[in-house]
Symmetry: C2
Subunit: 333 residues, 2 copies
């Protein structure tokens, strides 16, 4: 196996990427190829006394910036580290791709360079979020703003295969984000999607209201990318809000400081649970090979987690499962 890693994606590139890649090479049974400016990678490793002799390097001259149009990855910036890495994946020079760079560019590259699974209409961003019990996959979390019921149906199939294959959930409970439990709730999109999901070979658990998501009732939650992005960001924002409030509580007043000593450890564990980057990155589901979007603020540990996730994704055979079920559903219709 060879996992291709964009060395110039994210706020902490290339140093934290290199560190995470070296750790992954040491712990996982796979080769790792760093993609990016070779000279800069070597210089950064040298300056930080990191031995990168176990890693492969593929040179790429430029980097696509967050502020650039995502389509630049297939236009003016086709020599950027993300494009070169994805091209390698498409050309069978590697088995999976990890990047903390521009999400938009990753979606465009996943669609037009790596290419989609046969029959898949749209690729979806699929982060795994923490709850008070078991985590759930939310998709689409923002790759597609205007969606049709068939897209949500395919995402339901893909999310289910992922949660089973990579997260080990026996029979993932797939639910549809909606504003009420009844089949007739929501907009035309949800009403039509509900009908489709009832006839899809997955374990469909009906509608889920946003208030129930943090309890872990769903293993997979499908939504259009506009709604999914709202949910993802509010989830993230509420986590930060709470962390700040807890910190405030711990820091003010003498009595609290005494109490804080006892609770500090638990608070830290709780904060960590709210941090969804702990689960690795967000897979881009629907591409013909595993593509993982690491969080922009990833550190070495987060990069290691994302690479390990790509490793497990590759081993799981989940993409073959997605391909099979999506093919079946297409034939039936």
């Amino acid at each position: 196996m060879n996992i291709i890693v964009d060395a110039f994606g994210g706020d902490n590139a290339p140093l934290e990427v290199i560190k995470g890649a070296v750790r992954a090479k040491g712990e996982l049974d796979t080769d790792i190829t760093l993609v990016g400016d070779e000279e800069k990678i070597k210089k950064c490793a040298e300056e930080n006394n990191i031995d990168i002799s176990s890693l492969r390097i593929r040179h790429a001259a430029t980097v696509i910036e967050i502020c650039e149009a995502p389509t630049e990855i297939i236009k003016g910036k086709s020599d950027c580290s993300m494009a070169v890495g994805m091209k390698m994946l498409a050309d069978d020079e590697g088995d999976a791709f990890v990047s903390a760079g521009s999400t938009g560019a990753l979606v465009v590259g996943g669609t037009f360079i790596v290419k989609r699974i046969k029959g898949v209409k749209r690729a979806a961003l699929a982060p795994v979020l923490p709850t008070s019990t078991t985590p759930f996959m939310l998709l689409d979390a923002g790759a597609n703003t205007d969606c049709r019921p068939e897209m949500l149906q395919q995402w339901a199939i893909m999310g289910s295969a992922y949660m089973k294959g990579i997260m080990g959930v026996e029979k993932p409970n797939v639910m549809l984000a909606n504003i009420g439990a009844e089949e007739t709730k929501g907009r035309d999109l949800e009403i039509e999607t509900y009908k489709l999901l009832k006839e899809t070979p997955i374990n469909f658990g009906g509608n889920v209201e946003a208030r129930d998501l943090p309890t872990g009732v769903a293993d997979v939650c499908v939504a259009d990318g506009y709604t999914g992005n709202m949910l993802l960001k509010l989830y993230e924002g509420m986590g930060k809000f709470i962390s700040r409030e807890l910190k405030g509580m711990l820091m003010t007043g003498l009595t609290s400081k005494i109490g804080a000593l006892f609770l500090l450890k638990k608070f830290k564990a709780f904060k960590k649970r709210l941090d969804y980057s702990e689960y690795g990155g967000s897979p881009l589901l629907g591409t013909s090979k595993p593509v993982i979007k690491a969080h922009g603020s990833s550190d070495a540990k987060a990069f290691y987690n994302a690479i390990r996730q790509a490793y497990q994704f590759t081993l799981s055979g989940a993409i073959e499962e997605m391909t099979r079920v999506i093919g079946e559903v297409k034939t039936v219709k």
Copy 2:
């Protein structure tokens, strides 16, 4: 002034409604009329030794249940407490209406019995939510699933007038819920709404991403009712999730119990801040007179808060302000 209160709305009716109404009558300079089965109201007050001689009562034979179709309020259930109370409001027998009953029925009744402000396309549910700094109004939070830009524009005007008139925010920062900060982000609905809001006589602060809502950056957040309902319910769900987790932290382990003694008071204050029913109820904005939806689980204190909110809403002149600005905007177009 006379505030009309549905005595049979919510999980704790009529006892908690009666208690809240008696307190409001004692503290606010207004009459209060309880609407509902007169015999039951009197019997409940007697059994609980509550003196209701200061309150007026208007008899209504039935109650509209949550499980009934909302349109029943203007059909088979036109003799229910909610319908009778709203008819009183429409007939100038009172100045504001409060109910903890079916939200759907309240929206239908507000639209077809109380009727809308001249020119208003749709009434919107508008809860006020807590943040780490100042609270914000979210609208529409679920009354309308399919929306047009003109609706969101009117809600922006109404939310701004409410936050200024009732919450005392000098120049409310009105923002549009969206998946990115740039003007070109979102679906056609958001892109068109953004253009309209730039030309509306309000303090428009651009797009707000869901992750920033808990910081209190917006005073008013407008969204279509589907998205707004998702945001409201996730806000609520995250609050409950966090409260449960905190409780769990406090209850496990000896060291934590010792720490807990010191922090308990602060935790309670924090939990209270997350509970949006503390702000009273959710106004239904767009009706020609104040209508307040109290939370279904309201207790006496929450009913008191909702009645006080109706009182302030009536005194504020916010509806006159909404009428004026919406009229202006209509003329310009």
